[in-house]
Amino acid sequence: MTAPIPATATATATWREQLSALRFLAAKVARVHGPTHPDAAIIAQVVNTLIDTPAVDMDTQAALSRRLDELTGGFHPWPGSCGSVHQLFTGLKAVAAALPKKSQS
């Protein structure tokens, strides 16, 4: 019988899978809404950086989670924004909730 997968590993796999889809949404939002919301391009960059961050690097994950919170104003979609923006911010909020909140060191 194989050992159960640790809960932290499962959670990591889940938010990484979510990020895989959010990478496309973030790129779309940056492309379409970048001219009126310059932060959109930075959000897309942070998502890409988060994807590339090693699973063990919790300090960087916590810092990027805080950065996403700042850039999105607490994950509140811009007034009058479209469904793609709402989907992106909702997804980022869920990912941020699964990330470490404080530096481990």
């Binding site: 899978e17 895989s20 889809a21 479209c82 989907q87």
Partner: protein, 212 residues
């Protein structure tokens, strides 16, 4: 039908009715590479890697068929047929879409039954069919389409794609399926189409709230 060789290939550097579909073809080819590996594993182990096979089937059924083939069958092809009634390449492509759905059904049934041999047979049949189908569309049909569509018709087709991607599929669905395709590619060591910035730009070009 004249030869398409003298016509320019689809220009992937700009958003158009044909470049959007060619960009999606790169993702479908990526998933076909994964499915080919799943079929080989199923034959080798006499057991279907069912979680990944089901994920690949979701991408094929919803992204490749419902969304991508949907854009072709309900938006692009009718415009081409209105320009040139009885346009034969379109009729052939429609027939191959029907054939591809039979393979998807066969794979789905094989996964449900845990029948590894049937899964591998259907998966390999699907992969062969779709690779040839995509080659025909990219190198023949879309070259003709690029010459046939006026800028106004091209814009009309793009608006139809927007309706399918956002109104029919729903905001975020397209991206969720692309995410699954990329996760599968990473798992099976297949190159991701979205690592090309040009393809990424095409995959994210259509937003429900904006005209291109």
């Amino acid at each position: 039908m004249p030869c398409a060789d003298h016509l320019p290939p689809v220009d992937l550097s700009r958003v158009s009715a044909t470049s959007i579909l060619s960009g999606e073809h790169r993702v479908i080819l990526q998933v076909l590479d994964v499915v080919e590996k799943l079929a080989a594993l199923a034959l080798r182990d006499q057991r279907i890697p069912s979680e990944h096979a089901s994920q690949a089937l979701e991408v094929l059924a919803k992204f490749a068929d419902r969304c991508h083939h949907g854009k072709e069958e309900t938006v692009l092809f009718p415009v081409l047929e209105a320009i040139q009634p009885g346009f034969s390449p379109v009729q052939m492509m429609r027939a191959e879409h029907v054939e591809s759905r039979a393979f998807i059904r066969a794979m789905t049934e094989a996964v449900a039954a845990g029948d590894a041999a049937s899964y591998a047979r259907a998966a390999n049949g699907y992969v062969d069919l779709l690779r040839q189908h995509i080659h025909k569309e990219d190198d023949i049909l879309f070259r003709f389409a690029g010459q046939m569509l006026t800028p106004a018709q091209d814009a009309e087709v793009l608006d139809g794609y927007r309706r399918i991607e956002h109104d029919d599929m729903g905001d975020g669905t397209h991206e969720r399926l692309l995410g699954i395709a990329d996760t599968l590619a990473t798992t099976y060591g297949v190159p991701r189409a979205s690592d090309s910035q040009q393809i990424m730009d095409l995959l994210t070009a259509i937003c429900g709230c904006k005209k291109d």
